[in-house]
């Protein structure tokens, strides 16, 4: 399952997931801001030897909804998405990494696939600390900011007292 969605008012690096489950890191990479991931990857500085099993490919997923939010499923419409698959060579030869992310950012998909592969190697702790946790903190901060702005528009009803008593 996915990491929780709702903003955490005190999100810091220490609140971030432990990055033990593949679905959790896979999803964090998918949701990453492309420019931020690109920068973190450049700072990380390790570009492992690899081959492309599937070069970054842009396509569509058909998003479904449910009638009434919980009834029968229906096809709402398509969303652009990008996927990529790599296989590491050299020291960690044979480890496969994959990525799927909404949007059309090919470079992001490739970096995400490389990170997914590295998370299955002894470098996983470094990837988690230097890439995944900063992505998580950034995303939580953005979600929190949006939620706090929405909360300020919440109606606080009060009742006017009328008459003598």
């Amino acid at each position: 399952m996915t990491a929780t969605q709702q903003p955490d008012a005190t999100a810091t690096a220490s609140d971030s997931p432990l990055w033990r489950e593949r679905a959790v890191w896979f999803s964090e990479l998918a949701k990453a801001d492309g420019a931020a991931l690109n920068q973190l990857w450049a700072d990380f500085g390790i570009n492992p030897e690899h081959e492309l099993l599937r070069a970054p490919e842009i396509g569509l997923v058909m998003a479904r909804g449910r009638v009434g939010g919980e009834g029968e499923a229906f096809n709402l419409g398509e969303v652009s998405a990008t996927r990529c698959s790599v296989r590491l060579l050299g020291k960690y030869a044979g480890v496969e990494g994959h990525a799927y992310a909404l949007g059309r950012d090919r470079r992001k998909a490739k970096i995400a696939a490389l990170c997914d592969a590295l998370m299955q190697t002894p470098l996983s702790e470094r990837v988690a600390a230097q890439i995944l946790t900063p992505l998580y903190v950034k995303r939580q901060a953005a979600d929190r900011s949006a939620a706090e702005k929405a909360a300020a528009t919440r109606v606080e009803f009060f009742t006017m007292t009328r008459g003598e008593d």
């Binding site: 903003p7 490919e57 569509l60 998003a63 939010g69 709402l76 419409g77 909404l102 009803f157």
Partner: protein, 369 residues
């Protein structure tokens, strides 16, 4: 009838060059960037994505720029682009109960768990032109903030459902439910199930749906709708990743959901209950989803045992066959294209008919004399 003809090529090339220049407008005025359209004409972009049935705000903004703001032309560009891409598969149904809401209101309950969150709305504005916006360089004051409740607000209608005062939300679907029909894979078949109607309405023309919904309010199959809840926000998109054998969220999309509470149904065995209409669309598409919910409810007359009043909004064949603005404009606008040969035939025909009529009249006059 169509025949090949030559001679238009130079004119067409020149027309397209002229169009490009006209699109740019006065070159002394700064050119719009796609990012500016995406950020500052966000509701236009949302509409292009919803009716283009392709969620991609960058592409929506590009389409609006390319089409000079002609929304249906922009929607056409989105539909054409999507046709060039491979389909990776179908997502898990989005869970709107877990939406991170930017706006969430109910017209039926004042006090409700999670509260009324107005969000970025035109409601309660005075609809007076704001000339401050005409002056360039004005920075918007920063939005206020307040502590946010980390729990997503529950669906309002689930509160009514608890007391069984309202019908359940659609047929509860087992997880292995057969794949819902997909308009992009097979042509519309009638009668349509509710899932197919939903897909058609979700990508349907906002103006057409607005007109139909308004007609139900004016009495053409009136169904007394209240806005039980309208919510806008981000939802996760979960997808089965075949390579790793896991279902994973691969990102978030903005959607608008509208649920209406409508008048009762009941029978000898079932006590009266409120009924529901449902609307869902990409982006901030409030008017669209509200209209969609009213039309959805009107189309359900048979299932709910109501009378066929002969109203347009009740007529599934009429609604679903005409709700798609790309189909409609394609057929409508093709009559602008050369029909010289067709028209030649029509000319021949009318000349013949007139000659015959003239001859008959002359014969009648001669007979009378």
């Amino acid at each position: 009838m169509y025949v090949a003809s030559k001679g238009g090529e130079n004119a067409i090339n020149a027309a397209h060059k002229l169009m490009a220049e006209a699109r740019r407008g006065d070159p002394s005025v700064a050119e719009l960037s796609v990012a500016q359209i995406r950020e500052q004409l966000r509701l236009a972009v949302a509409r292009v994505c919803a009716e283009g049935s392709l969620y991609d705000f960058d592409l929506g903004a590009l389409a609006i720029k390319q089409s000079r703001g002609d929304m249906i032309e922009a929607i056409f560009l989105m539909r054409a682009y999507r046709a060039t891409l491979p389909r990776f598969g179908y997502t898990q149904p989005i869970d709107t109960a877990r939406m991170m809401v930017a706006r969430r209101i109910s017209a039926t309950f004042k006090d409700l768990p999670g509260g009324q969150i107005l969000g970025p709305t035109f409601d309660y504005t005075h609809r007076l032109l704001d000339f401050k916006l005409a002056a360039e360089g004005g920075e918007a004051a920063p939005a206020q903030t307040a502590p946010a409740d980390p729990t997503p607000p529950p669906h309002v209608l689930s509160l009514l459902n608890r007391e069984q005062l309202i019908e359940p939300a659609g047929v509860a679907a087992p997880e292995d439910q057969a794949a819902p029909p997909d308009l992009t894979r097979s042509p519309l078949e009638l009668p349509a199930c509710r899932a197919l109607r939903m897909q058609a309405l979700a990508r349907g023309d906002e103006g057409f749906l607005l007109g139909l919904a308004y007609s139900t309010q004016r009495g053409y199959a009136r169904n007394h709708a209240f806005v039980g809840e309208l919510r806008i926000g981000m939802v996760e998109v979960e997808f089965d990743i075949p390579e790793i054998g896991l279902t994973v969220s691969i990102g978030e999309i903005e959607v608008t959901e509208c649920e209406t509470v409508n008048q009762f149904t009941g029978s000898k065995t079932e006590p009266p209950q409120f009924t529901r209409g449902y609307g869902l669309a990409f982006g901030q598409s409030e008017r669209k989803t509200l209209a969609m919910a009213l039309v959805d409810r009107a189309l359900r007359w048979r299932e709910l045992g109501e009378d066929d009043l002969g109203a347009p909004a009740q007529d599934e064949e009429f609604v679903l066959s005409h709700v798609d603005n790309i189909q409609a404009s394609g057929f409508l606008e093709h009559i602008k294209l050369p029909h010289y040969v067709d028209f030649q035939a029509e000319l021949e025909l009318i000349r013949t008919l007139r000659r015959e009529a003239f001859e008959r009249r002359t014969q009648n006059q001669e007979a009378a004399e």
